[in-house]
């Protein structure tokens, strides 16, 4: 490097170069002022290393060290966490507001109103049991009850189906995000291997990681080569460098056939702690299924109580032993974890034991010796059939009005689930078609004016027939609606809170990494002036050189 004018020319050149780079960086910032996930960049410069010529120190201008992202990595992980939680509560809130819409009794159009109407029409029949027109009204009110319960059931099931398809969709999205992150890993790795900083690629990757975090709880580990490893749901490495492992969904026969999320062949559903997936699974298992179960219990209880009374009563045509609603059926299944090959079949509920039905869930449990069984009421935690020897094909000792038969080879600790409510809301229906058969009377001798049986039915309105004799039909239902309200309200509050938290964090990130056009404008002026000054130096040196060249 020469000393003198040519050296100065070099210094001016570095200055021009630096100013140009600075202006380019400013332009890049301005261009990306509104790009999501963009982190503002800054050119780092230092004065060039001085060159020692003999005992003379010669300045070598300015050196562009690089362009760095203004970024707080701790804030990044905080935002990721908040995004995960927002994903969970936001999804839950949306799902629960749908659930709430199904059970909105506040506006007087829910099941509660229909049930009240049904009881009202029973009262009318009680006043004039011989009136065919009042009986017709009663039957049509019973029909409305059927329609409402069926429609609640199908709306719940539709919503659950919808949630299931969302779960499957989220899993597909997660897999696609994982693939894109892996491919960005590849690019970042390549670029940074050459010593550059992959600023924009990292921005893109961060944006994808944030998107991923909204779906499932993740832990992101940055490797020394600039690639990231993504652990989903507390430890399943869905992205490792440039390779990915897919998540998948699989129907779980022990959970109503609903999807489990699997990593390889491992069920990781229970380890999903946040993100949209958590919100969806939580809404499905804790809220929708719970509402469905309670609706089933209510429908089964209405069916049971009315049929028991109606069956014993007498219609206007003197007929008896008629059912008002479709009879309840028993649902039973062998658990998927059973090692034995035995199958379970439900028998018809005998008329004589109908009144003993409890609406609880039961398990037939094979003992450790593999030859005995017990029956446990899992709702109440009580044993209803004590240890009894198992015999293939022989009906299990009747418990609480239920009869089932297990056939085949059982193994130790096999479990069979039994209940009478599972599809009660779906199957709920009025089985009586002839209004004259509605059993208002308790004996044929008191026809047609007897209302004794209807009065007993009316008494059901205030009888505590549910929840261990602590709830009436309507209080049971209102507690269902109320608990949906509580869940929805809590999800709403959490959603709002998470939104605020994320807003704050984003604002904070923005204040560090965001592009301020004012700042950029000032920088632009600054760099423009610097450029002008450097150019001026160049022209001065040029003039000086011309002067020297023209010296004669």
């Amino acid at each position: 490097m020469g000393v003198g004018l040519l050296g100065t020319l070099h210094v001016a050149k570095t200055a021009l170069n630096a100013s140009q780079t600075a202006i380019k960086t400013t332009a890049h910032n301005v261009a990306n002022a509104n790009t999501p996930g963009y982190t503002r960049q800054r050119m780092n410069v230092s004065s060039g290393d001085p060159v020692l010529l003999g005992n003379l120190v010669v300045q070598s201008g300015v050196v562009v060290d690089g362009i760095e992202r203004i970024y707080d990595s701790f804030l990044g992980s905080q935002i990721e966490d908040a995004t995960e939680d927002l994903g969970r509560y936001g999804t839950l809130n949306t799902a629960l507001s749908h659930l709430e819409g199904i059970f909105n009794d506040v506006q007087g159009m829910g099941l509660g109103t229909v049930l009240d109407d049904f009881f009202s029409s029973l009262q009318d029949v009680a006043n004039d049991p011989a009136s065919v027109s009042l009986r017709t009204v009663l039957l049509s009110k019973a029909q409305s009850l059927e329609d409402r319960i069926n429609s609640l059931d199908s709306r719940l099931r539709d919503e659950i189906t919808n949630i299931e398809s969302q779960i499957s969709g989220e899993v597909t999205d997660i897999n696609s995000l994982a693939t894109r992150i892996a491919s960005l890993n590849d690019k970042v790795q390549d670029l940074e291997a050459s010593g550059q900083t992959a600023n924009d690629l990292r921005d893109q990757r961060e944006l994808l990681l944030k998107e991923l975090a909204a779906k499932i709880n993740t832990t992101v580990l940055e490797e020394s080569n600039g690639s990231v490893t993504v652990l989903a749901a507390g430890g399943s490495p869905i992205v490792a460098g440039t390779s990915t492992t897919s998540l998948s969904v699989s129907a779980d026969s022990d959970n109503y056939g609903y999807y489990d999320v699997q990593f390889g062949s491992v069920d990781i559903s229970s380890r999903i702690a946040s993100g949209n997936l958590k919100g969806l699974i939580e809404a499905r298992d804790s809220n929708f299924q719970d509402a469905l179960n309670r609706l089933n219990t209510l429908a089964a209880s209405i069916t049971k109580e009315f049929n028991v009374l109606h069956y014993a009563g007498y219609g206007l045509d003197s007929t008896t032993t008629n059912d008002l609603f479709n009879v309840l059926t028993t649902t039973s299944a062998a658990k998927s974890t059973n090692t034995g090959t035995a199958t379970i079949a439900s028998n018809t509920i005998p008329v004589a034991t109908r009144s003993s039905l409890t609406m609880d869930n039961y398990e037939v449990q094979i003992a450790a010796n593999g030859t005995d069984y017990t029956v446990v009421n899992v709702t109440e935690g009580t044993t209803v059939v004590t240890t009894t020897a198992y015999s293939s094909g022989t009906p299990i000792t009747t418990f609480d009005g239920i009869s089932v038969t297990i056939t085949g080879t059982v193994a130790a600790s096999d479990v069979f689930t039994v209940n009478t409510t599972e599809d009660a809301a779906r199957d709920f229906g009025v089985s009586l078609t002839d209004v004259n058969k509605f059993a208002a009377a308790t004996s044929t001798a008191t026809l047609p004016g007897s209302n004794a049986n209807v009065l007993s039915m009316i008494n059901l309105e205030d009888s505590k027939t549910l929840s261990n004799s602590s709830a009436t039909f309507s209080t049971y239902y209102s507690s269902l609606v109320s608990s949906i309200g509580v869940a929805s309200s809590a999800a709403g509050t959490n959603d709002t809170a998470q939104n605020r938290i994320l807003e704050e964090l984003n604002a904070y990130r923005e204040s560090i990494s965001g592009v301020s056009l004012d700042e950029e404008a000032a920088n632009l002026i600054k760099y423009q002036h610097a450029y002008q000054a450097a150019a001026r130096i160049l022209s001065v040196v040029d003039e000086m050189l011309e002067t020297i060249v023209n010296l004669r």
Partner: protein
């Protein structure tokens, strides 16, 4: 702090969105009029709101039930008022017919009106509203009374809920309204004529049981009645010597006959035989006190039933007619008071209605309890013939009923008027008084029920207002508050929009 353009943009957008959201919430409150529009708005209040909604819908139903039962009871009350009026008219007719001035003709005329009243009562008893016979109990499609006045309904009452824990009986059964029961008054079923022979044993109050023979000579219903109602002497030991002297016996205004009582015929058995041997229209029979085995003598007019019997002691051999020795034990000449009417304590009446004759037993002292046993000569005490029509000795099943049907009474009255039977008319008065009392009780009870309905209605209305108010407090929006909030929120939103537009105008690139 570094403030960037997108921070400002984000913040302003979110603020505007939030302001809009609030405004939407307020709009919703205004349009629905409720501050709770979905369960999550106030989960804790949902059970109460649903309970109050249920209560209000229940109240709506109770109102209908109240109206229904009021209608039913008003109809019944109207019908019963008709019955009361009929009773009053019957009573007038009976009283005028039971006077001495009434004669055969006037009683026959009265009987025609009684017949009309019978039909009128029958039509009231068979009152039909729509398809329902209102007095038939549960058997609403069965006519309550046959044309003979036999009740065909049942005794069930239509219970209607008029409040959460309040029920009312919305009907009156014909059984309640048109029959009445009195445990001391026993009515037989329709008797055959002759009834049959055997013995009656009456136990009245704490008295010793008295047995009366019914033989072929006195076994028609009216004769049975007269035997039971016949005057009677004091007790005598069966072996006692009654004393000696002369008895003067007279039936009505017939010529008196004398009977000399000597030591050869002065036991109750022999005396009765001697009186019967006179064959003068007086029959003497023995009534055995089954505990002391003492016997009493019943005197019965045979030729003219119901005629007065006079017995004088013209000469008591102990010559002291004021003592109770000798024939004076039977009768004191001056007082003539030892012959007691209805001495058994039970009075029998023959009730004639369309179906035939029945015997009605009533205690001579009102309210006295008594039992009747029979020993039937046909020895088949499980059948329903002979005296067993009244009572089965062996099966201990009584054929006597303590229940009296109004139609039987009116029919009996009609027959008594037609046959000019003064005694029958008098009995009718007593019986109808009983029926009348019973009816008054029923009418009063119906009035009580109507009162209860009115009270319940008032309470229901009050509660309805209260529940509506509470529900409104819980779920209704305060319109003043909400519209103030709306105005405030509108101002906020406008200010925000204005501020946003100003802020967005700021751009340094406009200046350089």
């Amino acid at each position: 702090m570094r403030v960037t353009n997108s921070m400002m943009f984000d913040m302003l957008t979110k603020d505007i969105l939030r302001a809009n959201e609030k405004l939407l919430g307020t709009y919703e409150e205004i349009s629905s009029g409720k501050k709770i529009n979905r369960p999550s708005d106030a989960p804790a209040k949902i059970p109460s709101i649903m309970v109050y909604n249920k209560i209000l819908s229940g109240i709506e139903q109770y109102r209908r039930n109240i109206q229904f039962s009021r209608g039913e009871l008003n109809t019944a009350e109207g019908a019963l008022n008709g019955v009361t009026n009929s009773y009053s008219r019957l009573r007038e007719l009976m009283l005028s017919s039971s006077t001495d001035t009434a004669d055969d003709d006037s009683r026959t005329v009265a009987s025609y009106e009684v017949n009309e009243i019978f039909n009128q009562l029958l039509s009231i008893g068979n009152t039909k509203v729509g398809d329902k016979y209102i007095f038939s109990g549960y058997l609403t499609t069965t006519q309550a009374f046959t044309s003979a006045g036999v009740y065909q309904g049942d005794t069930n009452e239509l219970v209607v809920n008029i409040g959460a824990d309040s029920t009312i009986k919305a009907n009156v059964t014909g059984d309640d309204a048109f029959t009445y029961s009195d445990s001391t008054q026993l009515l037989s079923s329709v008797l055959s004529d002759p009834v049959g022979t055997g013995t009656f044993t009456f136990t009245v109050g704490s008295n010793n049981p008295v047995t009366v023979d019914i033989t072929a000579s006195n076994d028609e219903p009216k004769e049975v009645r007269d035997t039971i109602n016949a005057p009677m002497t004091q007790f005598y030991a069966s072996t006692a010597n009654i004393g000696e002297g002369t008895l003067t016996l007279q039936v009505g205004n017939a010529t008196p006959q004398e009977l000399v009582v000597t030591s050869s015929n002065n036991t109750p058995t022999l005396l009765a035989a001697a009186i019967n041997a006179l064959n003068m229209g007086i029959e003497a029979s023995l009534a055995t006190d089954t505990v002391t085995t003492q016997e009493r003598i019943l005197f019965r007019p045979t030729i003219t039933p119901g005629e007065t019997i006079t017995i004088d002691v013209s000469l008591d051999t102990d010559e002291n007619d004021l003592d109770t020795g000798g024939l004076s034990g039977l009768l004191h000449t001056p007082q003539k008071s030892n012959l007691t009417e209805n001495a058994i304590g039970v009075r029998a009446t023959v009730i004639n209605d369309t179906a035939g004759s029945r015997l009605l037993f009533r205690p001579t002292t009102e309210g006295t309890s008594y039992t009747i046993a029979t020993n039937d000569d046909d020895l088949a005490d499980t059948d329903t013939s002979g005296l067993s029509q009244l009572y089965h000795a062996s099966s201990a099943a009584t054929n006597l009923s303590s229940t009296m049907n109004v139609f039987t009474i009116v029919d009996h009255l009609y027959n008594s008027l037609q046959t000019n039977d003064r005694d029958g008319i008098d009995v009718s008065i007593a019986l109808l008084d009983g029926a009348s009392d019973q009816l008054l009780n029923i009418v009063a009870e119906v009035g009580g029920r109507q009162n209860k309905i009115n009270l319940q209605e008032e309470w229901t209305e009050g509660f309805s207002v209260e529940a509506t108010t509470l529900l409104s407090e819980m779920e209704d929006a305060d319109m003043i508050e909400v519209s103030t909030a709306l105005a405030k929120q509108q101002v906020t939103l406008q200010a925000l929009q204005l501020a946003t537009s100003k802020v967005f105008e700021l751009n340094i690139f406009n200046l350089i």
